[in-house]
């Protein structure tokens, strides 16, 4: 069985990562976690987002929101890049997550065919 004390080694590594990063505005990814979002698969989407961030070693803030009224379009994922419009993606699948992260978060190109709403900055 793993021991929680192994976390202390991970802590030292994580602290170095934090120091190496600039403290500017972060990219934010927001997953809808209302009853509708959860029933539509938001939990799997959120975990896929974390997996991609870990794999690509990205500095992204992941947060959640409740029901915003577009229940039929869940799971919903918002990407908020500093200085850009907030883009809402709908009916997101786990396969779409890597597309959204590589195209939009890493390269700045919105994945137009998945967009359901935009909120001006």
């Amino acid at each position: 069985m793993k021991s929680l004390d192994e976390l202390k080694e991970l802590r030292d590594k994580a602290q170095k990562d934090i120091q190496n990063r600039d403290t500017g505005d972060k990219v934010e990814i927001i997953v809808g976690m209302g009853t509708c979002g959860i029933a539509a698969g938001a939990r799997e989407i959120l975990q896929e987002v974390m997996k991609e961030i870990d794999k690509r070693d990205l500095d992204v803030r992941v947060s959640q929101t409740g029901c915003i009224g577009m229940c039929e379009k869940e799971p919903l994922v918002d990407v908020k890049m500093p200085g850009h419009d907030r883009v809402t993606y709908g009916e997101v699948t786990t396969d779409d997550v890597s597309k959204i992260i590589s195209n939009h978060v890493v390269n700045g190109n919105v994945v137009d065919d998945l967009v359901v709403a935009r909120l001006e900055e």
């Binding site: 793993k2 994580a14 976690m33 939990r43 974390m50 947060s63 959640q64």
Partner: protein, 180 residues
Amino acid sequence: MRELSLHILDIVQNSIAAEADLIRLNIVEDYEADKLVVEIIDDGTGMKEEDKEQVLDPFVTSRTTREVGLGLPLFKEAAEQCAGNFSLDSTLGEGTELKAVFQHSHIDRAPLGDIVGTIISFLVSNPDIDLVYHHQVDDEEFNFDTREVKDRLGDVKINSPDIIAWLKDYLTEGLRQIRR
């Protein structure tokens, strides 16, 4: 919901909305008594007497009480259709506790499902809320307390990707141990 763990994730959103600092999740699988018990206890704002009845009625809840909706009635129904029962107690200013009991072997009982995924999803977006998770399968038990994790992490956030990946393995292994 397809899994009880999805109900749990959903119900915990109410505790988050109620500004809980600490959430306790107890899951007891008792094969001898043929029962599966899920308890969620928080120290959030709690509810007024009249709201306690309303939150269980899917048709009364209005948009103004946004933090409550279909989640609780769905969970209650899930328990009651499995020869179980559901209770909710809440005190304004102290918190809310709910308990759902299922007949473990009931044919309509949804599987517990990916409870690790539920806990990880909660931790990712709620690094500042503590979770005490107790899971018992007959005589075996697994306990997880985010306060113990945070003690070891110092100023590193519990939702850092490295830490989340490690915790996912830790929880998966812990649960495998009690299911042997």
